[in-house]
Symmetry: D2
Subunit: 347 residues, 4 copies
């Protein structure tokens, strides 16, 4: 049997659905259940999340990552607030201004080499506090793992959350790849989120083998008080909710989330190992999850893209991004490395 559409290294969004999750979807497709989340599948998936993150955790399923981020940020802010994040943050770079539009807030962005931000960068922004002429800093949003494929250690996160809470602020974590981060660190999910002071987490599903669906997790129920209204008004309430819920239930059963993430991470490290010594290839970020950032000779990039598509990350500096996925195989890597060698040779 031939695969009509080849697997590549463009994005973990380009993969399909993990077979176990697809089976769970199929099984959930019988009879009628109440729409909008008042169904047994949703109850069961919520229970799984509470097992992992603690019983107070409030769980709101949504369609996608931008939706999850926008919901969490709305729950934490008023329009005159500022949200502090890395310049590279998805909420800043890749959501077409959705955070500003939905919250009314200003984003205060910090330069970063590795996708992470540090307390020392945030501290000077507090001069705005109490001054009505300035947007009031209220949320620090960090991405775990970062958009540059790096991972915050638990202590790094805690330094940020402690600083935030000491200064009347809250911490949002964009966890589109939280599973890859936990797999990389060898920790559980709770140890790098709730236990180190994160207030609201966008828990990613789609990039880790689901068809669609993310979860907004709120660890302080008071913060979640309005979330059901915010979700509905933000167009993120699914009618046939069971089909998001059952995917999460499947992902959280028998550590499928970890298995998928571990595999994807391992494939990235394998790819790194196979390319790092090839002349003309320069790895520009630590490979901590399922992403490689690689500087290539400029003329090689389009030719390689033509054979196996991927995205240019930084055009000026000739840096591209390669991502592995839960379904990446060693053969995929072998084939891709061969293409790379061929193109570099013919450069």
């Amino acid at each position: 049997m031939t695969t009509k559409f080849k697997r590549g290294f463009a994005s973990d969004n380009n993969s399909g659905v993990h077979p176990t999750i697809m089976q769970a979807i199929l099984k959930a497709n019988e009879g009628h259940v109440v729409a909008y989340g008042d169904d047994p599948y949703t109850k069961s998936a919520v229970a799984k999340f509470k097992e992992i993150f603690g019983p107070e955790t409030q769980v709101y399923f949504v369609y996608n990552g931008t939706g999850a981020n926008v919901l969490g940020l709305q729950a934490m802010t008023k329009p005159f607030n500022a949200i502090i994040c890395a310049q590279t943050a998805h909420i800043n770079e890749d959501e077409c201004g959705a955070p500003e539009k939905h919250t009314g807030c200003k984003l205060l962005t910090l330069p970063t080499e590795d996708g992470k931000i540090r307390v020392e960068q945030i501290r000077p922004l507090l001069h705005a506090k109490g001054n009505e002429h300035h947007a009031q800093p209220r949320v620090i949003s960090i991405t775990q793992a970062t958009e540059l494929g790096t991972v915050y250690g638990p202590d790094e996160i805690e330094a940020i959350t402690r600083f935030a809470h000491d200064n009347g602020m809250l911490v949002h974590m964009d966890g589109a790849r939280i599973s890859n981060a936990a797999a990389s660190l060898g920790t559980g999910l709770r140890e790098i989120t709730r236990d180190v002071g994160v207030d609201v987490l966008s828990f990613g599903g789609t990039k880790n083998g689901m068809m669609f669906g993310e979860a907004v997790l709120v660890f302080d129920p008071e913060l979640a008080r309005d979330l059901k209204y915010i979700r509905k008004q933000s167009t993120q309430l699914a009618s046939k909710m069971r089909f998001i819920a059952v995917q999460f239930e499947s992902l959280l059963t028998d550590n499928l989330w970890l298995e998928n993430a571990t595999h994807a991470n391992r494939m990235a490290r394998l790819l790194e190992k196979k390319v790092r010594d090839i002349p003309g290839v320069e790895i520009t970020q630590d490979v901590e999850i399922n992403a490689l950032f690689v500087r290539l000779p400029k003329e090689v990039i389009p030719r390689l893209q033509e054979e196996s598509f991927f995205y240019v990350w930084d055009d000026q500096n000739s840096i591209v991004r390669w991502m592995t996925s839960f379904d990446t195989t060693e053969e995929d890597i072998e084939a891709f490395v061969n293409l790379l060698r061929k193109q570099l040779a013919s450069g």
Copy 2:
């Protein structure tokens, strides 16, 4: 084999996915394709829509109905505009204020007995035009079929669109149940939308057998110029888009949309036939699609709900709503009518 979750008459949202559509999903789950809609499944589904609605039609897949409505309305308005609709309109009653939040516009609502609005009601609102103190009427939004299960005839729609266009306004149609309307009228989809002057259509998929997914159709490409940005900023851009697209492709193939809608409509008429002469039952709206609005003795309602859940539509007047679905069977109806008779008898 027993069905764990019984089918009922609460909502067409409570049903699952039509088996043909589920098969299409399964088949689409192989290999990698580019995310966010630049994939062959999306191209193919868009082509199907263009076949039906004409080649200029611009097609934007989204997650749900509120998303579709909010996108269309944003494309048609500026924040100082007013959107005219029936008081019963989903955009007014059932979207938690999403249209106001996303567009900034005022909703001007018109009373209605049957879910439809008429030109005579709209005309007086035009006094606001040109006066900066008043929100400027820009869009008339109608629902086809209406939230009360009634259907606009093509001439009724055309009267509204002509009036709108003559007065510098546009017409939005919330077509969450557009297939049921076409099935009811015996027309094609285009004859009751584009051909009678509708500018933007929310084309419903979820209520007609899909797992999730709606389409925003824009018949004037100029109106769609910004829609890709609006979709992204409104959190409605799906990463694994192929899984929405392939459902629509399936729904639009071999007239599955029509088959599903026709069946649901037929089941509603059968239910009507079986209950209309039962003492204590009063049908309050014409049964034109897959919905019945029924006045019942007040004390009977909760007892019947306990046996087979459905929603009270109008508490004060003791009116309930029963909906059929693509998967409703004659046995379901038989059983439900028996429950009803029993509860009425024991009243």
Copy 3:
């Protein structure tokens, strides 16, 4: 000396500034004071408000009535809330959708014959509470005096505020003509606002003899916590604040507010007395403040407008609005009544 621009009956907005207030402005124009409200004039004017309304009262000066309303409503709501008001309310009819744009909320409007709303009308709207599909009622906004020139009695207000508070809602009062209402009722300002449960008051200055300026009064300091940021973000923070403050200080000194309002009200009653028995003239609302609503023969209206401009209130029913002002004289009325008689005679 001739007056270049004649006084008329179009609006209390068409008059200029009361001479006492103008003198106060002149006196305030010396030296430098800190901008944005941290100046002695503002302190003094705030103190005057606290004398009248109690020391906990929080006072925010703004430029105009729409600004005042939009600030108060923002302080009381989140975007998924609904604001309940009369269909005739200024916030609904005359602010070009500003409340929806600034708050994101839905306005739920109630029909009214006399500009007032009643608890019986509001009660059915509470069915939405707790249901995420519906905008959540949070504020009842009433206008005192109403846009139809009528006045709520203290007991009428208290019935609404008690109902609101019993149901987790707040009460906003648009007091663009609060002084005229107090003058009409013969009460103080506090008795018809704070003492009967109003939470936030837009206190009108411009229509009662000021050049520009309104005040947002918040009686529960907790509700005002964010107001300084909301005011700035809403473009309503005046840099040379002293010039608003000193006007209010003047208005609140020696009961100038009451003197102006009483005079305007008296002029309206005089006008009523002089026209009510003229054939062809029908007074359609009780004349309780400085406004008359009058049905006239249709053809007379434009001819009379040409001689002395005023606004048509209800074109279909041939009803016009005449307003008196702090500077209206008995001679103005005499002359206007003569014009009216002449036009009616030549009808």
Copy 4:
């Protein structure tokens, strides 16, 4: 006669109203005129602006600078757009997030040493164009004179406007101190705005001797099509408009705008001359308008502030801002320099 409130160097906002303008206000205070701008004073002031900027110029009076900026930006953008500006821009730093809240747009900020931005900095931001994941650059907003007291030459402005127009973008100018800039350059107002390609100008009045009031000038009538609705919905439509209009009429008569600005600029240069050689004083920006940025020994600042208040601009670097005004006198400067010398000596 003693001045109750001493003049200082904190801000041109701390001064009062120029006597000529105050006289104009007094003269305008007679009789009734139609509210909301349909009055002879407004017509006359608009005509003055058209004389200066050309007859196509559309003129909208508003209350303040944030209002003017927010109106202009709304006229030029849709919510998915990005607005490019200097990090130091008033719209970014000093409006409490008003631009984001009112427009929904993202602000893309550029670092700057002198308050100006350059085309080379803007060019890389264009990579976002056409990509739905990124906010779409649409407006470049520059401040003239800048927040750091520097002035763009006409050629510098033209380089930016040409680049903007070549790339489908528009240019907004925050001209809160446009008169000071023209006075500094020795040009007319039109030569540094419309003639060099600026599309929309916030024309400042308050900081140059008015009580309140700014004007939004739009040079392409098409861009102004919605502005009257935007102004009303943004709470910036004054009812007694004549009192803004007459101030502008006065400011634009006999070059009062230029006289005031020239004087203020001259006072700043005088202050510079008197302090620049004092040990411990370092001027950190070119003194091109009525502002000085000065590095002082840290411990001297609070002591000097206590005697004559001014703002610290950059706490970390010990830089303060001193501003002169239309009413600053040579004696004021003499006295302030003496205070400075005294404090530095006792340091």
